[in-house]
Symmetry: C2
Subunit: 537 residues, 2 copies
Amino acid sequence: MRLSAFAALLLAAPVVAQPVAEPTDSTAIAFIKAEATERGQVMDHATWMTDVHGARLTGSEALDRAQEWAVDRFRSWGVSAELEPWGTFGRGWKSDRMAMSARVSGPDVASQSFPLTAAPKAWSPSTGRASGELVVIDIDDDTLDPATLDVRGKVVLMGSLSDVARGLEPLAQRRDEHELLELANAGLAMTRGAQRRYSPEVLARYRARAARTQAVLTGEPLAILTPSGTGGSGAVRAMQAAVPEGQATGAGGRAAPWTAGVETVAQFAVLDEHANRLIRLAEAGQSVTIDLDYAATFTDEEVVEDNVIAEIPGTDLADEIVIVGGHFDSWHSGSGATDNAAGSAVTMEAARILKAFYDARGEGPRRTIRFALWTGEEQGLWGSRGYVSEHFAPTPGYGEPPTDVLPGHANVSAYYNMDNGSGRFRGVYMQSNEAVRPIFRAWLDAFDDSTAQTLTISNTGGTDHLSFDNVGIPGFQFLQDPLAYFAKTWHTHMDVYDHLDPDDMEQAAAMMATFAHHTAERAEKLPRKAMPDLAGN
Amino acid sequence: MRLSAFAALLLAAPVVAQPVAEPTDSTAIAFIKAEATERGQVMDHATWMTDVHGARLTGSEALDRAQEWAVDRFRSWGVSAELEPWGTFGRGWKSDRMAMSARVSGPDVASQSFPLTAAPKAWSPSTGRASGELVVIDIDDDTLDPATLDVRGKVVLMGSLSDVARGLEPLAQRRDEHELLELANAGLAMTRGAQRRYSPEVLARYRARAARTQAVLTGEPLAILTPSGTGGSGAVRAMQAAVPEGQATGAGGRAAPWTAGVETVAQFAVLDEHANRLIRLAEAGQSVTIDLDYAATFTDEEVVEDNVIAEIPGTDLADEIVIVGGHFDSWHSGSGATDNAAGSAVTMEAARILKAFYDARGEGPRRTIRFALWTGEEQGLWGSRGYVSEHFAPTPGYGEPPTDVLPGHANVSAYYNMDNGSGRFRGVYMQSNEAVRPIFRAWLDAFDDSTAQTLTISNTGGTDHLSFDNVGIPGFQFLQDPLAYFAKTWHTHMDVYDHLDPDDMEQAAAMMATFAHHTAERAEKLPRKAMPDLAGN
């Protein structure tokens, strides 16, 4: 009785559809892995980007030459490549010469000068050889009355004592199981949290600092110094110069130092250890003079900037595309190695590997595979947003909803981005798109790298996949080991070739190529999240 | 039968003398610890040495002013202090201005210049503003024929690609129990091993490098660059310039760059990441020009150099002395914080604490306590050797046996030195003197710091206690946590205040004061090792 009742229950149970196994291509994976490691060239691409062409600031001639090199290198593999303009950026700029030192003078101190490790903030104007009295202003001093400031001709250090790590903890990390499990178990709540980058308190503090900076900027100082905020890493982090309010606005409606006609003061980030010394000297009542020798050149006033777009054409589904990319521009003080020669070299290497594979197979991919090296990313994803606006869905500004949907929009299966440093791929951020989980899981299983198995529903932000995700096209970043990205290299003068990890770069290239190949070959395009509302809806 | 036989055995056992308990002074220890922490000033001493007076290269005016400050500060506590000359050193020197950058030029590369993080080697002559073509010479290339070198007017990078740590391991360490146990269990064999600093292979390699350097030095280059050898730490290590052979010799019979009349080429240590970039650029066939702007001043030709000697006079045993010290001079590129403002500030703080204690007690120490801030240490322990030669036993050169023994020799109970960075005291190197073990054990027990309990028979070298040990006077260094001393700060431009650990500095000052006090108050002077043979015996 009991048994037959149980049998009846079984029979009555709803029929659960067995998921159709996601096809994977073990031949391709084996080829790709061998090509990436045994015949890998990813570090050679990185050498040319970083050591030879150097920093690739948007608008600069160095970026132009590096882009030409990249186009040539794609073509040398038989991969078609072009420069495709995305719009007018602003002014070109480069630093030609930079030295800074401090002199302590006092009746009881020997006349001596010590060099300060510093980097100009981008688009800072020249000072030439000039000297100014040091004035220290605590940027967090709420009692500071901007009206009483007298900084004319002085060198103003805006900041307070910074923490300096003494090295008992490693600067670089690989993700451990605890962290990976947390990501694997993340719910959608975490994806929303990931988009919010600053707490209200932090934001309020930043705004107060900006207000005090405005007071100093308009006081005609010789130069403004700020502590780098990277104490103990040996690195100096420097992005763009701040500008006085009320000047001409450029693209995006912002007054930026790259906007033609905008004037500002020379600004420098200073190694925390050295900024701390200046602050302590002031506290000890010592008079300090800062000697500067700084020259920069503004080149074209209105640069038309390009992305590099390369392509392996598809076959039976050639109208549909999968895109792989990373931004090629960098900040100016290092050579843009982990941010983002890493992603650019991996993108190029994925192209080289896939071209070799399709040549060996004697048949191209089903869908077209594009390789994009964006520019203007550091100033607000300009290159990728321009590309998406032109081809898929126009968006007026960063993070704003699209105003229209173009016919090409439906044809993009996915965009894969790399821009979190050199660290090994440990999995994929699904960017709130739960429907891709079984597909990505099958691809990760087939790729068979025990270090890269984690899928997280969580989002990651701050880079070019957002330009796609923002208009409803599946855009993804891989989950990477952080290494010393935020601790040391991100936007710093230490972002140089030797902080790239060759093994991790090869693994990333292989996995990027595998994901592109599977996306190009699968029966359907990747499932999408709900389309965002158009602007005005 | 058996039992009574056993009892007989017991009775027959030799009588073992119970060791006389080593007296300790808990009142003093409590006072010292409170003074060191609750009213501690050690970091203020360090601020003045490093931030205000800065680098204290032997022979420099900066060192003179810093010594005057130290004398004044000792006196401000009621501790007598004097400058005591130890001999004629050589030339004074300081770097006034230093900037270095590299320009890559080629038909396909944008005209751009990137700064190189570098530091002059001490006593390098000025180059002014000058440019030279980069030539890379692999210093370990055994096929290099010096006769074929053409380096006239060029900037020669002598070196090969350096390893750059990517930060997955911490730069700084505290000693763990494994390491401490190994030191605790060390036998005398280890003490001999500790004296031998280089393997024959390493020595041979250094000699081959030196020979190739000679070939370049005599080829009239504009400048010579060498990789710093500190890759990944962010630091540049720079000591003195190499000199061409066959020139005038100075004190110690060596031709040194500080010897009056010696001429050499400007030499610079370069951050490994930047040297690697230059090497890879050369390998990639790129032409590179190095732009230099470097000015230095040679001051006096023959500096008479001093030690700072301070003293708290003894009472009933005032003729006998205990000495506490560290070297006050530094290299030039940082501000000599861990090497050795640390030891100097701890020495001064020990003086301040002990003066406060004896004042509170109303009675001075039994033995005289001296506080010595040596100079010329970095060039070969000149200051401490000069002092020992003058007062205790003349020695003609570094590590050479004494030629005589002066009456004062018998009066020194012990010398305690600190010169291994800022790291916490974990115990004491007994310097092969087994007889001090029960004494130091009692003092460590009484100091009651669970982190500082290890006694090792092992030796440590390379600093001023050797000047005493070498003539048979007990000379000791404390066993310290290394922190990032050799990894980052030692002799580098990153040897600055923020890499000092305040807690460790306070603990060291308290322990140094305690050891000095117990040595000054105990019934007997410390036991000695066998007296070394005099020269010629």
